[in-house]
Each structure stands twice: as C-alpha cells, then as structure tokens.
Homo-oligomer: 409 residues x 2
C-alpha cells in the first residue's frame, strides 16, 4: 500500500534538508500494524519546557486518539512530552476497544519515557473500523526509546505515510536578536482531505520558547488560511491532527506579535499544506482557486470551496479543457451571494468571462494552451464587495478512482 | 455526443408505452444547434384550459430561460400554452444576448401558435457560456407547428437528451369516479445532478383538470422527496426545470386532497428521478441511502446527502468494497448531529457496524458478496431521534472521468 503507487508528478524534487531542533528527538520502527517491510511507528520525544498546541478534525465521528489529544492540550510543559504515531490502522470507530488501545499506548509510552501519560499525544492513520493491534506498537517502545536521536525527522516523515507517494517536510529559520530560531515540520495526507479541519497528520517543531496559549493562538489563526484552505476530495478524515511543539532550546522567547516568526511559520504551514495537495490521490494538476469581490471573506471561501470541490471543474482540468462554464455552475450552486451579470473569470492571466458572459478577449486556443500547465490558477471576481479567499486543490483523474475503488480489499 | 456513449447498464429494459394525453401535442426537429444527425428541438403544444406549474434550479447563476419561466408561471390557462426545448446549448451565462435569445424564441413560437408569449415556456440544455444560435431554432417552427401530434412524446424524450444514454419516461393511470385520469412524464439528465433543486429537464402531462395553485403546491411538495433526493455528482445545473401541465381533457377535476392522484404522481416523479440516477455519468451501481434515527428529518437529509456525495463512499461501491468506515467518515463530516457510539450501519440486510464499532454479526465475505449486486442499499441509524430521509445516487467510476474530462473539447 502506498509504496506501490508511483510518485505524484507534482512531488517536489527532493525531501528538504530539515535542521535538528534542540529538545526534539525521533525514532521509528517496523511494528507490523498492517504493512510489512516498512516503518509504521514514529516516536518524538520533547524535552521538559516544551509547549504543545494542536488543532483537530471537527468530525462528529472523530477517533479515540483525537479525543484523547484534545483533552490533553494545554498541560504542564515542565514535564516534557511525547508524540507517538502509527500508520496502517486509524483506530477510528472501534468503540471502547479503541479508547482502551489509546490508553494502553499512552500509558506504556509514558512509563518507558518517565513522563505523565497526559503528556503523551498519539495519532493513528489508516483503515477505519478495525481494532488496533496496540500490543504490536507497545512491543516496539523499548527499541524506540533506545534509538531516539535528534536527526530522525526525515525517517519520521516516512513512517507516518499511508497512500502518500512522497514524504512531506518544510523548514524556515528566522533570525531574532541575532540568533537563529528554527521551525521544521512534517505532514502526511493524500486522500480524505477537505477544508474546515486541521487536516491530516502534521507535526511542526521549533526551538523557540513560547507560552502554550501564544502557540495555540498562532497555530489556530494560521491554520485558517493554510490547512483549512486545501481540499483533495471534500472528504474529512476522522483523525486529522495538527500538533506543534515549541521546545525553547534556542533561548529566544516569541510573543504573539512577532511578525517575522509568524510569517515564517505561515510559510512552513502553507508549504506542507501544498505538499499534501501535490500528493492528492491521482493528482496531475495543482490548482489555486482565488476568489475576490465577494460580499465577505466567509462567502468568498464558500465560493472557492464550491469550485475546488466540484467534480465537473476538477475533471475539466484533468482533461485540460478551459471549461469556464463549470466554474459558473460551481459559483451558482455554492449558496453564497453572486450576481451572474457581475461575474468575471480568469484562467491564469487570461480573462475568459467578463461580467456575465464570455469575455470579448477570450481566445479558446490560448485558454486551451494555458490548461496544459501543471499549475493552474482560477480567479473569480464577483464584483460585489471586498471579500477574498484562496483555496488549493488538485484535479480528479482516473488515478483517484483506481486508488479508492480498491483501497481496503 | 451522448449518442456515442454505451447505454447505462442500469437502464430500464425499454422505454415505457406512454399514453396520449388529451390536450397535448408534440413535434421534434433537427435544428442543428450543436449536434447533427439527431433531433435537438422539441415543441409541446398545450390546449386552452391547461394549468402549468414549475419548480426550478436555485442556482445564483441560473440561465435566461429559467428566469423567464419563473416569471411566467401562474399565467392565464384560458390562452393555452407551449413548451419549447433545445439540447446542445444551455444558453446560460450568455448575458444580454441570452435574454434576447429567449425573447426571440418565445416570441416566434407565440406568433406561430397564436398564443401570448407569456404562455411559452422554454429551456435549453447543453454547453454553458456559448451564445445560442436561436435562428436555427426559430427556423424550425413552421415545420414543428405543422407536425404537432398527440403521439410524439417518445420522440420528445429523445430530442432533449445530452449526455443521457437512454430516454426517460414514466406513466400512471388513476381511476377517479370510474374515469381514467392519465399522467405521463419525460426527463433528461445524467451529469451535473445534485439535490436541492428541481433537477434537470422534466416534463409531466396529465389530462386531469387542476387549478394552477393546486398543481403548483402538489408539484413542489412531491419534488422535495423525489427530484430533490437524487444526486449524481453534487453539481447543480444552471438550467434545471421541472414543468407539469394539467390539460383537463379527462373532465375530472383534482383537488389538493386527492390522495390517489397524488400518490400516482409521486410514483411517476420518483420513477423519472431514479431513471436520471440510473443514467448517472459512468454509473454501474444504483444506490439507496436510507437514514433513520436522526435528530430531525432535515438532519437525516444532510447525513444522507453527505454519504451519497462522498467520493470515497462512491468509489468504494464502484470497487464492490464493503468499506463502511467511509460511511462513518461521511456521517462525521456532514455537520449534522451524530453520536459515534450510537451509530449503526447496514449494507442491505447485513449489519456491518453496531453502536460505534464493527458489528458482532459482521461477516466480511457476506458483505463483499452483497456489494456485487447492481442495487445497493446503505442504511444508517443514528440512534438519536425520529428523523428519516432517503436519497438515491450512483457510484463514481472511470466512466465519469472519461465523460467529463473531455465533454467540451
């Protein structure tokens, strides 16, 4: 699974060179939860003094691990912390056995690392509804704890993959008071990706020192315009988790008003979010949907999501067809305000529709040539007000059908 | 287009034998709007005394013809009426030229038939954003008017097809006061089909006598549980139109409380709605999603739609995979209330999940065998209240991608 899929044509050239973050150590193992011949468990150990913040799926059927993490966010940084993730089994919709599995894993991890169990954050990703063989995970703990090392983040990015075709990482370094402050993050995600949630599994680490409420606020705010603005297939996972840990190892304290750090963190989050879209199941095109002139930012977001989730828009782009009529359709059905006769549409720099009808400048050949690009920008101006939004998605291809019509069997 | 696609494997064995409806005459022609070698215009002439009611798309970018029809519904039955439909071009998002085209067609039709132009209802279906060559339609009017005949409804069903792979018709006869009252309807639709609208082009005729407000109320109420409960791809058309004409030729007057007639009409509407799903682009499975135990009927409908529109649920069914975890996911993301630990799921009669985890009776082999059926029933009980809903859809296959990645080019 995953491993047998060809790497997405939209993948970056290489996994980035992620720096070590003081206070964070990683280890991975082959627990054999579901996959064989590959790592499927990652452990991250966080030094005492590390603040941890998180954003999670809003699904009403969220997994036991997500519920457990949500209850623990905001605990005492002095105790240190740990993140333990398995791939291959989501431990979702597994009832009391699911809750017991999370308890077993967090208790065993806490005991082995000598930290309280309410400082152990777990996640599980993979098939839904099958009991997690948690003993296979806990059986690896001695080995994992022995091999914890600062340089293992790339291996960690591999261990959490499911249908992903490439590991996802991003980094930024900001200089504050003459000192480098580092941010490094990893993510996994390829299908069951939709806006309005924390999306997938994302782990971001920094050696900045941050109070937990400052970290939580910054993460939540930036999440709205990054991970909450991507969609692969409009389907929201039961397990989406975004966790960020600030170890303080750099000795530099970051407040909520540090624009330089916040912008760097935003770039890391957006880069990881885009990488998830670039690994969208079956994707051959990376699409930015930009909406301006809406009655409000919220309504712009509704229009942008409606376009980005439309199977007809996504298949037209897969077919390299500049079918802007389907964009009109998606705006019309969104439920947010639109006036047909003020609506204009661009593919890249080419205006294809102008105030409710085909643009006088429209050139079908130029538009068709533009659609051959690997990155497509659709811009819609509603002509109503100042509301704007940007959303990123991929096309809908035979690859998506192939991957999902035979995921579990 | 359309003609070259293989007939859906879910198509009925044959087009039904539709009765003539007193007061209704049909004619079709090859106007060459976009297609060649097939009919693409249909004219229905309605005798004086005919009430006409309609339900239309709620799209904010609805077509000029839809806006025109909405303004005319409820006019004077004494004048008679006409319905004129072309396929191949939707005349949607065509600005002032679109409005002018509707005026040209309705005026020419009115003049030729000797009725007021506010009694001519038009619709256009096909590609969006290209100006309608309305002169090609009006050039056929003399020929159409000369050939109007009571028996032409099957030909009419053919003329309005676009990506449809079979024509859709349905009929019922009710005996009232010892007299037969007939209902006959035709529909077209295959892609860009989503709930919360009148859906596609649907024309229903009866020789009952009905006051227009009675007819309108009955149509609107029945639409909620028929056409508004189907979805192919969650994409809502700019042109959806459901029109019903009651000529009164039977001499039998129907009130709003005639349960026998209303039930017969409901069966015709549901039959036509199911035929649209059975011709869903690329469909190989007909799927009923039944939700019970929701907090309200409205929330049951939200859950049912979320399941029926989920690409992951639809691809799982295409792959004959009893992947009920994806049903859990779709319930969780819907936004309506759900309690994971009260949720139970059945595929047909097989309980696969029971109160938040895999059912003790679950047998993977039996479930896999059930998924090989052409008709699949997914039943979700939320265990919260008395709300219920039923929605119908089809699976998502390579056929959908093939049809839509190359519709216009």
């Amino acid at each position: 699974m995953g491993k047998s899929l060809p790497v997405s044509p939209l993948a970056p050239d290489a996994f980035p060179d992620l720096p070590e973050i003081g206070g964070v150590r990683f280890a991975t193992a082959e627990a054999g939860v579901r996959y064989s011949g590959r790592t499927d468990v990652m452990l991250a150990s966080l030094a005492p003094g590390t603040s941890v913040a998180g954003v999670f799926t809003r699904s009403a059927t969220r997994s036991a691990a997500v519920l457990d993490c949500q209850a623990k966010i905001g605990g005492d940084p002095a105790q240190g912390a740990a993140i333990l993730v398995n791939s291959g089994n989501a431990n979702a919709f597994t009832g009391r056995r699911g809750t017991a599995a999370v308890e077993a894993v967090t208790n065993a991890t806490a005991k082995r690392l000598g930290i309280p169990s309410d400082r152990v954050f777990t996640a599980s990703t993979g098939v839904i509804g099958e009991p997690l063989p948690h003993d296979r995970v806990t059986a690896c703990l001695d080995d994992l704890a022995t091999r914890l090392a600062p340089g293992g983040i790339a291996d960690a990015a591999h261990a959490i993959m499911t249908t992903d075709t490439f590991p996802k990482g991003s980094t930024e370094t900001v200089t504050i008071d003459g000192q480098p402050v580092r941010i490094a993050g990893i993510a996994k995600g390829s299908g069951m990706i939709a806006p309005d949630m924390a999306t997938m599994l994302v782990y971001i680490f920094t050696d900045a020192a941050m109070e937990q409420p400052v970290l939580q606020d910054m993460l939540s705010v930036l999440n709205r315009t990054t991970f909450n603005c991507i969609t692969v297939d409009s389907d929201t996972s039961t397990s989406d988790t975004l966790l960020m840990a600030a170890t303080g190892a750099s000795g530099i304290r970051i407040s909520g008003t540090n624009v330089g750090f916040m912008e760097a963190l935003r770039r890391v989050m957006l880069d990881l979010a885009h990488q998830v879209v670039r690994d969208g199941e079956g994707a051959t095109k990376f699409i930015e949907v930009s909406v301006t002139g809406a009655a409000s930012d919220a309504e712009a977001h509704v229009h942008a999501k409606s376009i980005a989730n439309s199977p007809l828009v996504k298949t037209a782009i897969a077919g390299e067809d500049p079918n802007w009529g389907r964009v009109v359709m998606a705006v019309g059905k969104s439920g947010a305000r639109a006036d047909r006769d003020r609506l204009s549409i661009w593919f890249g720099d080419l205006e294809v529709a102008h105030e409710g009808e085909v643009s006088p400048d429209h050139d079908e050949d130029k538009a068709a040539a533009y659609m051959k690009n690997e990155e497509i920008v659709i811009h819609v101006d509603l002509g109503l007000g100042g509301g704007t939004a940007r959303v990123w998605t991929c096309d809908l291809t035979h690859g998506y059908i192939e991957i999902n019509a035979d995921y579990r069997s």
